[in-house]
Symmetry: none
Amino acid sequence: MTKTITKGAVGLPLNQIMAGDCIEIMRSLPADSVDLIFADPPYNLQLRGDLHRPDNSKVDAVDDHWDQFDSFKVYDKFTKDWLSAARRLLKPGGAIWVIGSYHNVFRMGAELQNQGFWILNDVVWRKSNPMPNFRGKRFTNAHETLIWASKSEGGKYTFNYEALKALNDGVQMRSDWVIPLCTGHERLKDGNGDKAHPTQKPEALLHRVLVGTTNPGDVVLDPFFGTGTTGAVAKMLGRDFIGIEREPSYRDAAEARIAKIRRFDREALETSTSKRAEPRVPFGQVVERGMLRPGEELYSIGNRYKAKVRADGTLIGNDVKGSIHQVGAHLEGAPSCNGWTYWHFKRDGKLVPIDILRQQIRAEMDETRPH
Amino acid sequence: MTKTITKGAVGLPLNQIMAGDCIEIMRSLPADSVDLIFADPPYNLQLRGDLHRPDNSKVDAVDDHWDQFDSFKVYDKFTKDWLSAARRLLKPGGAIWVIGSYHNVFRMGAELQNQGFWILNDVVWRKSNPMPNFRGKRFTNAHETLIWASKSEGGKYTFNYEALKALNDGVQMRSDWVIPLCTGHERLKDGNGDKAHPTQKPEALLHRVLVGTTNPGDVVLDPFFGTGTTGAVAKMLGRDFIGIEREPSYRDAAEARIAKIRRFDREALETSTSKRAEPRVPFGQVVERGMLRPGEELYSIGNRYKAKVRADGTLIGNDVKGSIHQVGAHLEGAPSCNGWTYWHFKRDGKLVPIDILRQQIRAEMDETRPH
DNA sequence: GAATTATATGAATCCGATC
DNA sequence: GGATCGGATTCATATAATT
């Protein structure tokens, strides 16, 4: 299923893992081409030998002790570079997720804001089975922090509110997610039976991220691909991915892992949508079709007010003329009003919301539309 | 109980609220003199227009002048200044707590690290009853973040591991704390019945902070004192406080509030250093939430014995200290005892089993739902 | 008085298509 | 591109009002 979309002169390598430094590679990809970025960068400079100083000299392993201020400076430069390269790739309506711990997440969050990303939420991954603090010197480090941000203020980011609400048993999804660590069968092992990657993320985490903030067919980029959790879940969910990873052993593990994944079928990928996605029906159509007649009276939700339907699909009530919404808002002294649920008509002596008339029209529209 | 400790040439004004700008005032206080700082600075919310609930009622926004900053640059300068003034005041073994939301916490965290504070944990306050996201455009903002940091790397900070474990019913305290918002009787009102402060913090939060990271007699400074939650809990727990607040109306409310507080007696303040058993709802939460107060007396099922509640959720009765279960078992000469049904408190002259308090907490938490 | 129902509210960066 | 306006959107808890 590997494919390449060309955009301008440069190709976008989909469903592949690119080998090399993510900053260089991201700079070589076309701008404004990616829907979502998920990034799980290295947390701590001192404990890893795979980072570079600004002059590109390699940082030695743990025994290379330098003070924390130099360390932060180098980490900030690294963060600044990969975040700006990432931002360039995002479509105007694109968004980014980053994940980190208290060692690095504050620096990432501040840099996100500095670069003009617009933070939408910080989300807490609450681990149901964290490693205890063995020495009893601090609180059990039982969570990690994710930051979700749009490319810029006012960006038209994707948020599948209804799908997430459904995932959460019908209650609005909160900013704290209880998800177990990645263990058991899901945890990839190398040839020796050791874990293939030290910080493999659970698929449940990516599932929630991708269902919630992308649509099928979207392009998801992960610049710190590791063993490919982002790619695996993207494939299952019918999203295209681009992975970037420097370590050959991680790439190999990810490649083998993703090859085994099957995409869910089309029906399974359809998620709950909100009313906002449904076609708009002007109230005038209700009158045009004779479902309500000019001169007929409508009654407010508490039956306190009446208004009369006019031939052009406006109402008149208490000497105020306007749309079903405007007249409702005026009578209630409210800033706004959904006229469809506010107004009722009489049928067999009972009050029925006019919204059922809109539903009838929508049902008819469905019949005429190809499925 | 107002007192002044002199240290060198300068006095340390204990258990008072100082009027004015916290940066200037902190600069005038003696260095290396404070054990703990708790800081709840303005969040820089950057709110735009009005927000209405689906029922059209208007959300009472935090639009106070003190939360207005022109830019991140201005906010960063403010953060840098108050944090450096605060750091100077801390004893070498001192520590700081800051609290914030995604609007400001990343900038505070980065600056803490820049100044040489050593982050010990980030802690998530998971709100059991947050305000929903009314427009369905983001995740419910259901938490705030606290950062706990020592004055510098290697600082000999205070951490009452066993007391916190006891508060958590024998299980190591985690970095995510479920605590309700400050509402009801605890929420201070002004003369008109409006809230006295827009962002009053729950006492349960400060209880956990102060029991966990200070000792009786320690000096706790709060540079953004507001209506004095830090001072109120410090007084209860036998810690000395220093408050700094600019707004006269907040100072007045705090003054009146703290005057009414009684310090728990000495016995109640001694916290446990032994291990506990492990049912599900920690009795410590009953104490933290103020459902029972340290020093309050409990009565055995036949009203033959009495015991006193201590600040860490243990009891003392007949010179025996321990969990509600342990003390009950000891008094009855039994191998075990269910403290929840054994112990009763007095309400309206009647004896009520403490188990109903556990039921209240369970109802609030209702953590059986997947998040 | 007890039980039930209605109302109020909390640190919030909360709309988007069409004209 | 700014203005207009249709119309979609909420959870837990405390307290007041009602039955």
